[in-house]
């Protein structure tokens, strides 16, 4: 059988053309020979990267092995480097050069519970990374100057030419509690910071790890979707985020002003792609909201 010409196949997940040979997309590792699974409401299930599938970046490769907590094993070329949070390093060959990556805002990062130390690894050699939750490891190839916003603690690794910034998420609310209503508590249901990755000087590769399964959808301009705040995984920068409170109809003890029963949602507004993970933490939904980031409300 003759191989299809380069560009004959466009991966529906990363949208980058390739020759479609080899069974998996060389840019994101998605299988090429499975039918896309789309829910009735339009969520596309991100297929797990096949065991031992290889992803190319620059002159190096990344091989994904395992299925429960997949391992990303890098075969780094001497000209290539990656960076990662130091706690995801699983093993490394003695030849790989490990160094610390310069990071700004250490105090803010510590306050936000973000890793203080980022490491760089430079080839030649093999080294491997893995996260600490069962779930999907996904590769997000970035075209030159393309950026994505990622929920904190989901980053696994990125190629050296991908710029990393972290931004405050303006999704918060404050509650008041205590016998005299003097205890004010701040809540950041989607985390306090967002990791922003931008590819410079050519295409780059970003690896994320999400607990559970991953689902992606394209939001049209003006289209909105409500998601659990901690299920948010990544989005195009064009997608806007906001907080939404939903108050159920009816009166019962839990709906009193003190407890203020409600659902807390993260609103994602198009245009652009968004991804969510199926494992999330329940937000603390009790307490009277006394201040917020400009949240919208729905009283049923």
């Amino acid at each position: 059988m003759s191989m299809p010409p380069q560009g004959a196949y466009t991966c529906p997940y990363c949208r980058i053309p390739s020759d479609g040979g080899g069974g998996t997309c060389p840019h994101c590792g998605a299988p090429v020979d499975v039918r896309m699974r789309v829910s009735d409401s339009g969520w596309i299930e991100q297929p797990p990267i096949r065991d031992m599938a290889r992803i190319r970046f620059n002159r190096s490769t990344c091989q994904i092995s395992g299925t429960y907590v997949p391992v990303a094993e890098m075969n780094l070329h001497p000209d290539d480097s990656i960076y990662f949070s130091h706690h995801v390093l699983l093993h490394t060959g003695p030849d790989v050069q490990l160094d610390a990556k310069k990071m700004s805002g250490g105090w803010n990062r510590r306050l936000a519970g973000m890793p203080l130390i980022m490491m760089t690894a430079r080839g030649p050699g093999h080294m491997a990374l893995s996260a600490d939750h069962p779930g999907d490891t996904l590769a997000v190839p970035l075209q030159a100057n393309q950026a994505v916003d990622v929920a904190e603690h989901r980053f696994l690794a990125a190629t050296g030419n991908v710029d990393y910034q972290w931004l405050k998420i303006h999704v918060w609310f404050a509650t008041q509690s205590g016998s005299d209503n003097n205890d004010r508590e701040m809540h950041y249901p989607a985390g306090r910071f967002l990791d922003k990755f931008t590819a410079h000087n050519g295409p780059g590769l970003l690896l994320l790890h999400a607990p559970g399964n991953v689902f992606v959808r394209d939001l049209r301009p003006g289209e909105h979707i409500l998601v659990q705040p901690s299920s948010f995984l990544w989005k195009d920068p064009s997608v806007r985020m906001n907080l939404h409170f939903e108050y159920p109809r009816g009166q019962y003890w839990f709906s009193s002003a003190r407890w203020e029963a409600k659902s807390i949602w993260l609103t994602l507004g198009g245009p652009g792609r968004v991804a969510v993970q199926s494992v999330f933490e329940r937000p603390e939904a009790v307490g009277r909201v006394v201040d917020d980031c400009g949240a919208t409300r729905q009283f049923w």
Binding site: Y68, V69, V71, N75, H86, H91, A100, L116, D132
Partner: protein, 265 residues
């Protein structure tokens, strides 16, 4: 017709077998080995059965697998009591005396290992997503296992625990103070481990080294030496140290992909 050699445990199997009679590894699937030589532990098929002594072990489930043993009269297995999932009421139990009670207490290891005697059925599982790793041990083998990783061992195994040498290894190695050591003498034995996430094994040549996150270490042949190496990291005005386990061959090293990172300081 040629017999089939299991790629995982090297046991010989009848030509019509689809899984190894000694370790349960699928025989009709190629071993998956990464570019750098890490072999994935075989994913045992649901309900796979294999034999040890006169007894059988069946692996059930895939996310947190259960090892169900049908113990023949005269056979027994030992285990940490909290991994016991269920048992038939008539399976006799006893306690294995372990030396060094105070050391075990200090090391956070259970004082007593339980022994279940055949005949009867008993099942074991651990508490998180992972894989059951079946390691048949031939006579005169020594295997060191991360503490709290073993699920069950057969009666022919000699169990002891060894202190991890070197204060730096204990303080910064992330594997606790002790390792479980399993030794076979004249008879073969079977060891069942539970690795969190996925499990990989690499065979190191004499003098070959690999650096492993200490929390990822699962098992090693006792011929593999383990040392802790410090990786200095400087961020701005502060400096940090990270510790990695340096494994030096010859022998096998097993790692797990899900672990609690041993914090840098």
């Amino acid at each position: 017709m040629d017999r089939i050699e299991c790629q995982w445990c090297k046991a010989q199997n009848e030509p019509d077998r689809t899984s190894c009679t000694t370790c349960g590894a699928p025989l009709d699937k190629q071993n998956l080995v990464s570019d750098s030589g890490w072999a994935e532990a075989p994913r045992l098929r649901d309900m796979t059965e294999f034999r040890f002594s006169n007894s059988t072990c069946q692996i059930e489930g895939e996310i947190v697998p259960v090892a169900e043993l049908a113990l023949a009269p005269g056979d027994s297995v030992f285990f940490e009591h909290h991994v016991m999932l269920w048992k038939e009421p008539n399976v006799p139990m006893s306690a294995m005396k372990t030396a060094g009670g105070m050391k075990r207490m200090l090391g956070g290891m259970p004082h007593i290992l339980s022994i279940a005697h055949g005949p009867g059925r008993i099942a074991f599982s651990r508490d998180a997503t992972g894989e059951v790793v079946v390691l048949p041990l031939h006579p005169s083998m020594e295997l060191d296992v991360r503490e709290h990783a073993f699920l069950a061992g057969t009666h022919s195994l000699d169990y002891s625990f060894v202190r991890i040498k070197g204060l730096a290894n204990v303080m910064h190695g992330g594997g606790g103070m002790y390792m479980d050591r399993f030794v076979t003498h004249s008879a073969p034995g079977l060891l069942l481990l539970h690795g969190y996430g996925n499990v990989f094994q690499k065979t190191l040549q004499p003098g070959e080294k690999i650096l492993v996150e200490p929390g990822g270490f699962l098992y090693k042949d006792s011929s593999v030496t383990m040392n802790t190496v410090k990786q200095g990291l400087r961020t701005g005005l502060t400096s940090h140290n990270m510790f990695l386990a340096e494994m030096t061959g010859p022998g096998r090293v097993g790692i797990q992909s899900m672990y609690v990172h041993h914090h840098s300081e």
